[in-house]
């Protein structure tokens, strides 16, 4: 995979984390060999990133009902149980694999807690790793998440609706890329792996998606500094 895109941003990342990459390879080998300690340690290291994913993907209606830590506990148990599947899925990075399990766990949770209300389930082709809460809604929710005073809450409801709609009008992959890059904080490389596209393509699409998002956001009054009033 990597080899086919010699000129990608990989050189930077590689340089930046050459030693980390080497360490990862060693860890990967240990994990594949069934070293539980290495498995657990690595999981712990990736935990904050997985928590972020849970925060982002969890349906707003379940916030307060479901704790990210509980989700990860389930994920951990499941991951341990399915270690063989990881070996079989090679090549795949450990993080992307765990992310997949988080996604499936979330789908189950949503189904369990929301049942029939999971109306987005069929519609969204879970690019984000089997997560069914709508990415658009999650994006919108998080983009506006901080409007919490009462008067702002009113505005948020309106903005959220308009933003969600705008996001829904975007290409699915583009939207997913934005979510992965900014809310799950995945690197371009990881995004490419998650979405199964070339890294170069992922980066081009990301830029394009950003441009679209900008357009969307600028239609939301006051979202972007100085954009609206043109000052």
């Amino acid at each position: 995979m990597t080899a086919s895109v010699p000129n990608s941003g990989e050189s930077l990342e590689a340089k930046d984390s050459a030693s980390a990459a080497g360490a990862d390879e060693a860890r990967l080998a240990r994990v594949l060999a069934g070293d539980e300690e290495a498995f657990t340690a690595w999981f712990a290291e990736l935990r904050p990133r997985l928590v972020r994913m849970v925060h982002f993907r969890l349906d707003p209606r379940l916030r307060g009902r479901i704790d990210a830590e509980d989700v990860l506990q389930e994920v951990y148990v499941d991951a341990v149980r399915r270690r063989d599947a990881f070996a079989a899925a090679q090549p795949m990075t450990f993080f992307v694999w765990l992310r997949l399990i988080v996604g499936q766990t979330l789908v189950d949770l949503h189904r369990r807690h929301l049942g029939a209300q999971m109306r987005d389930a069929g519609r969204e082709r879970s690019l984000g790793g089997g997560v069914s809460a709508g990415t658009s809604q999650s994006l919108s929710f998080h983009l506006l998440g901080k409007l919490s005073s009462p008067s702002m809450a009113a505005m948020r409801a309106e903005l959220s609706a308009s933003l969600t709609q705008a996001l829904e009008e975007m290409n699915e992959t583009d939207r997913e890329i934005l979510a992965l890059r900014h809310f799950e904080e995945l690197s371009n490389k990881e995004v490419a792996e998650v979405l199964g596209i070339e890294r170069k393509a992922a980066s081009i699409r990301y830029v394009r998606a950003l441009e679209r998002l900008k357009k969307v956001l600028s239609a939301v009054p006051g979202f972007l500094d100085s954009q609206t009033l043109g000052r």
Binding site: K15, K146, S148, K215, L229
Partner: protein, 959 residues
Amino acid sequence: MTKSAPAAEYEALDDDDLLDAVVEEFTAICRTGATPQPSEFAARHPRIAEQLIELLPTIAAIEQTKSSSDPTVVHGFRGNAPERLGDYRIVREIGRGGMGVVYEAVQESLGRTVALKVLPQQMLADAKRVERFEQEARIAARLHHTNIVPVFGVGFDEGLHYYVMQRIHGEGWDRRLLHSATKPTAQEAARIGRDAARALQQAHDEGTLHRDVKPGNILIDDQQHVWLTDFGLAQILESDVTATAHVAGTLRYLPPERLHGVSDARGDVYSLGVALFEAVGGRPPFEARSNVELMRLIAHGEPARLRKIDPAIPRDFETIVTKATAREPNDRYVSAAAMADDLERFLQGMPIRAREFGTAERAWRWCRRNRTTATALAAAVLALVLLAAVSTVGYWRTTRLNDDLAEAFVREQASRRSAESTSRTALEALDTVFERFAPRGSWSLGASAISTEATEDLDGALSAGDVARTVTNVTPQTAAALEELLPFYLRLAAERGDDPQIRRQAASAMHRIGLIQAKVGRFEEARSVWTREAALLAELAKEQPSAAGEFALAAAVLDADLGDLERVQDRIPDAKAAYERALEKLEKMDAAQHSFEMRRELARVHLALAQRMHHAEHEHLGPQGPRGREEGHGPPGFDGPPGFGGPLGFDGPPGLGDSNRPPPPPRGLGGPGGPPHERHPFGPPGFDRRPMDGPPGEGPPHDDGLSPDARPPEHAKPPRDDPAELAAHLNAAFSLLEALHKERPNDRLTRLLLARSYRERAKAADASVFHLETADFAESAKLLRALCDESPDLPDYAHELSIALSDFNPRRLPPEKRDVASKFLYEALAISERLTQQFPETTLYVGEQPHILHRIATMQADDHDREAEAVYRRGVKVCAELTKRFPKDFVYAYWETRMRQSLAEFLAGAPGRKSEALAEAERAAALIRPYAEEKNGPPPALPLDDQLRHFVEELKRRP
């Protein structure tokens, strides 16, 4: 995370990769909480400077929304307020929303304070749109109304378009609602709505639509004066692509037709209605998480009803809001003025003009919306409405049904998330209706078993114990209409891949339909629908072996109810066989399946088998009265015709019947022809409709002379019941029921069965004792009375009580018991009169009355009380009405004949009334003659005709 790389590292990259790398770096810095400057990055990477300037602010904005706890970051035009625009000096910001920012400003040339609304720049990006904006503003400036914020003009400066208005010292209704601790009362909202509606009317008169009515555009000043603002602005912005955000923002106030580009005055009425809804209801009429969903709901959904949210909201206010927010513009107020007037009427406490949507209208509207998703369902609802129409239900009952349906609709729309929930709701709606017309457990005991489970799966709200709130008022039309609903169950099941759950409900519905058919006397129809049910149950049991217990129980219930049905028709051997089949099924069930319901059913079957069914039993009842007739051949019992005295058939209330009572000997019939079953054919379909007799309950057919088909011919006399066997069944029933009663002291069906068991034991005791005076009977009556008191709405308990109280043959009473007996009879009569009045269509109740009257009259006649004549005459009248109502049914003609015969006998015994007696006897004879002369006519007609002929001749011979 990623550290900033030296510039040299970037040089090797092509533009795309460079951009990517820089973006990652910038993002990483943002995530540390710092605020990197896009311009710096642009300066560092001139090759891609343009793109960076374009993209980095967006990235910063996104990252900030994630991390910033400062909400102003998100929606603020941070620090960018202009200082001056044209003639206006900006004083301060006073508000902001989707349409821009509003400032307080001073118009320097005039020295006046104004409000200045600066529109979002993109919204007026081209000249054409600017022109329209200015045009709209000019129109708005022409509007003069005490409730419209005056517009002074528009302007353009510093690249910003603005709108100048009178400064209103107050706040938007939206903010007020948000900040207020309590919801406004309907009165407060109505006042605001009325003023806003008047303002709208003024604008409409001037040819301007508001197009964006919402709480944010309704200002309330410090004197509580209402001001409408932002006229016409929405329209200019609507066509603007970038303004989708704006339109979307107020989507929930958007009239549905606007989605198709249609707008007129009624659109503003709609939006105002939504605003009122939201203000008072505290939530919008449609709740959706996405605009797509919201639009779908606006276009196809039925809005919530205010009083479902808060029953304290006045109905008139709800009606006004409902009318204003009708999906079809034609269903709304024709003008804002009309809405204002109704709100004013509401405020004055005067009757409003808006018409409440009736069940039919709501259902129809609902159907229209759901045409695509569930046509079958919609049709079902229509059928339900028809059903409501054909059923003669009193006003309050209609209202209740209305509410139930309305509730079902509300629920439907609240949960219309998926096809699955739609059909679920449909089922609930169907179930509600079935429950209304054929309450589970009301008269057939067994009915509760399967249907309860089915319902509880759907919605725990309904349960067998819930019968108290149900109303039974069934008519043959009800039964037919309900039957027409059956295909919907099956279609719903098919839509969901032959969903076994729905089919199980279909089976349950069939069961209930059968019960209704039986109750209105349509026995063949009942049998036929039950046959279908049996087949369906068998199918389901095969498919789902794991639920075998449940289906076994359902099948046993079915057999037991069939037993009742047979018994009502006096097909004793068939009845017995059916009960025995039920018993066998129940006894075969595993101990694990011995649920409460199963044991209760078992008790019911034992009780049924404990009741003497064979006519032979009667023989020991002794002679029937002073004029005792000979078994089987005497003249039909004129005086206490065995029939009347013998409670059974007639009285047998559904289920409750006195089944215990052995049917009287075939006596008055003079050995009718073939066995009852064979007789059946003569009965026109209506024949079965003999509600009077036995309700499908366990009431055994009467023995009394009245029921033509009641007794088997002598030669077909079934074997006698074995008293030991009967006693064993009764004991079994008792021990089960006592345990069940202890387990669930409030279970009504258990108590009802227990009451019957006591009565059965009272009757079985000593024939020399008046069984109504035994302790067992007292216990039975006590249980029944308690049930009546608890469920005054459920007539079947009262009916059962009336039967119990008149369940004896007056002719067999020792004279000293007559006083006490007549008290019982009069109480029974009072109950029967009440039921007849309340449920004139339920032949079951109506048909009970002549029997009671006959018993009363007979007792009086034996006392030579002249009152007897009046009572007989009353009985004749009731019978004649029934004969008239069911002209094809032999049974009613037969009853009438017997009643007249009794009257004639009484008159014949009174001095000087021979000619009257003769006239009455001749009328009676004339009534029965056609049946007697009919080839293959009803067998009981022949002997009766014979008796009457002799009687007439005898009277004629008298001096």
